[in-house]
Symmetry: D2
Subunit: 404 residues, 4 copies
């Protein structure tokens, strides 16, 4: 039987931290004694708990503590982190600490320093009083890397107690059967506040945004300066350009809507942009004079395009190497405060793992599981809507632009 | 080896009748020789084919012919139907002919008479030169019932060649990823034409119509006289009434939208209507003064409510016996020309099997399989849309009412 | 500003009662002060909290208290329930208390009495020191019915702390992407223990059990005495009988598996059973000599068949009135300890609302949302598996029968 | 009004070519006259039709003809293809002909030559009496590329008339509700025949193969030499290795099955393989001594691993550039005769577009839409199964290995 004492601080009850910790302990076959507990009497008061955890073996205890740590528990006994050198470029020492996307501190020489940025699935490198999250591709032989979990402290985002807003709910998704109009209006108000407060809004969009005819509403938001950065795949850009060049998927004519249409225009649109030398040049040459890509170029929206093994082409400007693409995406997400993930599971899942825990995240998709899987990464700051993306974007744009 | 000669008539190629027949023959392990074929040279010309079908055994041939018959093949050799008396009330003779929902004729005394109504999953009773489709509950001991399939001729609905409209497509459904605006406008135009031509429009609605906030758009259609009959379950009526009496699920307030709310109001709304003695009385007593049910009463829309084992209550006016409910539904569907099936798989599936093959049928649901399964019953007259029901109804009502 | 003091008792933290209560208070726009809190130091110790709740108005407070009550809060001030007479047969007094499926007590003349049975969506009738849950169809004019929520105390099922088993998890479902073999073995062990302890096992089965070929595995469980009662619709029974009489949907021959086959056999199987006068008679007359229905008759398994508006027939023995069907289902579920809900959303949803909170409930379906919606009614005693029903039943039967 | 005469040859009726062509003509608002038609009298006879097509404008006619061509129509007037030089490396001339994955011929100097390979979404380069399909990345400035569609002839795969097998059905998928045992046995027999006839079998596998515990069955097939090549993403390889190194997702212990487990092991497994220098080295160093990757190395199965923007790492040997990955995939698919696509939409969609039309393709996924979208690329040679991948692979391996 091995034991350790942990401590919890903050809104540990209404942010569900204490229950989750006790839940983990029982689920893993361990036991606990609550040594001390102080519950805040008002909703703004902080609480505190000191709990002795016992597990059948040292190994079981160690695994359990790692998990409790990630829920915000601290080990009462304050110790420094252990460090080991990276054995080679791109390789971490065995037993390296794996980060979450929560705010994280490490104790070195009895001082706590914050790990920056708060990036999940990284190791922590310590160097000259600084701690940084490093990915596989960043680590160099000999870098001092945190191993084990002693001396690491994680501070989960806690539930806001000051005001109830649309993002305050825990893993909240609005199902296909629920009304969305009011939530979309609230979201519009939130984006307007964000805009006024110099927030940065990113849109991550899949091809269904174009195919369902939602593109015009995204354009309205771009023109009104509600989009700072656009993340998409090669296919998204081509669908938009194809619509502009050939009118495909516009759906004005019901026959068009119903017959679909071949793949030729997709190929030809790709060819046109390749011939021009990229989207910005196609705009400059007046080959591309409307659509989402055009609006992005005209209004200075950063376009971050990445490739996939399903792409034809791709067009110039698409990052085809996935490791390189991840670096660019991380960089372009670093100052974002709000993200809209629209009709794109692959992209949305990738981006969700790159976000800081404070980024307010909205995921819209007609597939309920896609929505669930994406928003579970942002427990206190995300909102999922199971709906068609076209009416969502139409209502959001209407709601925002009627106020201006 | 057993053989029989069949004949096909009409738009047998572009209505896919000939290919389906040959497909069935090969799939069932039989063979064919095409003895004669005349293909219409223009799209309005009828075609004709005479085909000799051979199968390994008489039984196999008989089973195959039954299936070909349902695809519109006729047996070249003209014979009269065979009849046998029903052995008891509610029981058909063995080997009774099972109807489809296609136009069907039987040959008696060398005269062909049409079976009425064109109802699927029935037997055919012949009496004094008339042929009628009878359900289990209608047959009486001694009724003369068609057995086997000789002398039966089925005439499938063939594809319209005169004009292309939104209903001309074969099992056509518009997926989540496709644009729907143009199709919805076309549908609006079709309903407007239907209205002017004294057509009858039925709406079959599930609870999601209320929960998503689509109810107000259905009310607009009711007030504009675009709904002749409303089919729903007890739960639908209660959700509507609950919204009127208690404001639940209205979703004005985003907190309401997000917190859901208990089941009490559902129970209380049921109790109120039970106390009043039914919906019409609640309207008369001014207890119920808005909402869909209220609009139906005010505008003379027939309300056909049926029960399910999931219901609480139910309220007066709901038919709780399912056999009785089917009789009423069949009767209330008999003069309908257009049906909208909105967010309700159970009801939609039941109703789809009760429709004449010429009824123009639209099915809207966010679940693609629900849409597929419903529209496959109406191959030449149905349209499926995979989308949220609220934006669908909003756009449909906008499209229809802006023209008036 | 209106205030009330509530108390919570039991495993209020690890059963999530305290967090849910605080969550509700904040979500509804109210505030709280924790006046007293004692947390059990070991996992078997009970905890206690006394909380002062304040809401903006008396109405808001009353609504909030009702919800907190359902989560197990008690109002500190002990008062008797208020009663009012039912105004008519089948009608409750306004503001009647609506039950949950949790254990419930009411205080009358300063004595607490338990409401029996623990049935959700009922009112509570008090008569001569007894309290019973009554449905709409049971209430008679003048019955004394509890109104408001004062004097009502709800005791939610709390999480088991003695042993971890497959049912201990909160709304736990195993997704399509997760391994199920070990869970199915555990479930087999649980059913074996249940059998030895004189538990009663009910199976609720949908047509996909037959269509996927899972019927033989259900038969093995029936023959081994692992099924006490079978709940199904008319269609389930006919699919089983059709398979026995005509071999349809048996799928021995891959062509059969692929070609589907017509609806005739479904109609003919219905006719055969109608002619025999029911399933038991068809077995007695040796018309039906294998299959699930046959096994049920041979092994004394109660068959509870209910109708729906999609049924043809139905066969004798099917309860076609839905209110009558509910009464029978409730009665036949009253002594059940374990329920398997297999491939049938409609039935599963209906049955889930009729179960006592202690009934161990397993829901198996290939549709993840169906599973979610069913198991949310049994938060501490349910297990959902998103999988094909055929391999599930095969593995379960293998696992159970290999041990015997 | 513009007109052109087209010809159709082969099994144009039972392969649905004639109906689809007439369908397209009507749907696009054009008209037709059938000038000549000869229908084969036996099922092995070829048929012939000559049809005059008229469209409102030359542009409409041209678009329509392009589509008819892809369905196998030939333009009666035999003309040579038109060629134009590629204007730059990686850019096709405007109006380039876009290939399908059907067998295609072009007429040059009045000789027809076949385009090789039969690759969709390519252009056709003609050079010294040879015609090859070229992708964007292959074209060089000045290459002679086919433009327009004159002189191009497409020969769709026609339905086999010699024998009915599991692949003969048109876009056939077996739904969640249908029996699969017989089809899986047939598929086992087909793979056994393929093996004996020196066919090449590729498996394309997603992470759910590992997560559901299906890995051991895939290993059995690898060891029995039923897999020639394995296509997967980085995540698949890591899930397999993680299971070997840490036992995660193995699911022996039901608690493990239920608690999930963190992401750390995924990161650590990646690190181990990076440290070893790749999978083959990890096997050579005996770090990796079981699992799918190990079996592939031991039994000489080619492993083709590609990256995505969701990957961590990745491990050495993963192709991270998507254009490079496509080249490798095409190359490694060129001699494949049978493909199993298991639980992986992204990969399956990419691979489906790279297959020759004669490759027999099986797609297994629990999501019905995923299955539909994948198999629609191989209309006459594909089979979809909507089911859990674990029981599918178990039954397939049992069926194949019991015969050996």
């Amino acid at each position: 039987m091995a034991s350790e004492t942990i401590e919890l601080r903050g809104h540990i009850i209404d942010s569900l931290i204490l229950p989750k910790v006790l839940d983990q302990i029982l689920t893993q076959g361990a036991t606990f004694k609550i040594r001390e507990i102080k519950i805040g009497q008002n909703r703004t008061d902080q609480s505190f708990a000191r709990i002795e955890v016992s597990a059948p073996s040292e190994t079981a205890l160690s695994e359990l503590l790692l998990r409790l740590l990630q829920h915000g528990a601290e080990i009462a006994k304050r110790v420094n982190v252990q460090l080991a050198p990276a054995p080679a470029d791109g390789v971490f020492p065995r037993d390296f600490y794996v980060t979450t996307n929560q705010q994280t501190f490490i104790r070195i020489d009895d001082n706590e320093i914050e790990v920056r940025p708060a990036t999940m699935d990284s190791a922590v490198a310590a160097d000259q009083g600084k701690a940084r999250a490093v990915k596989f591709y960043e680590v160099r032989k000999g870098d001092q890397i945190v191993i084990g979990h002693e001396g690491v402290r994680v501070v989960p985002v806690q539930r806001s107690t000051s005001h109830t807003d649309v993002f305050q709910f825990i893993n909240r998704s609005i199902g296909a059967d629920e009304p969305k109009a009011a939530v979309i209006r609230e979201l519009g108000a939130e984006l307007t506040r964000a805009r006024q407060a110099q927030g940065k809004i990113a849109v991550v969009a899949g091809p269904s945004v174009i195919r369902t005819g939602a593109g015009e509403h995204l354009e309205r938001l771009i023109k009104a300066k509600y989009v700072d950065r656009l993340f998409a795949g090669n296919a998204f850009a081509i669908y938009d350009i194809e619509r502009v060049l050939f009118g495909t998927s516009l759906g004005i004519n019901p026959d068009h809507a119903l017959t679909g249409g071949g793949h030729e225009n997709h190929m030809r649109a790709t060819n046109v942009i390749r011939e021009c030398g990229g989207i910005a040049r196609a705009v400059a040459q007046n080959v591309l004079n409307s659509g989402i890509m055009h609006s992005c170029v005209e209004h200075g929206v950063d376009i971050v395009l990445t490739g996939s093994i399903r792409d034809e082409g791709p067009i110039p400007g698409v990052t085809t190497d996935v490791v390189e693409a991840q670096k660019i995406m991380r960089d372009k997400l670093s100052d974002i405060t709000h993200v809209l993930l629209l009709g794109t599971v692959q992209h949305a899942m990738a981006i969700a793992t790159m976000l800081a825990p404070t980024v307010r995240t909205v995921c819209v998709d007609i597939d309920p599981w896609a929505v669930e899987r994406v928003i579970e990464h942002q427990p206190f700051q995300s909102l999922g809507l199971v709906t068609d993306v076209e009416p969502f974007l139409r209502e959001l744009a209407d709601s925002i632009l009627s106020k201006n």
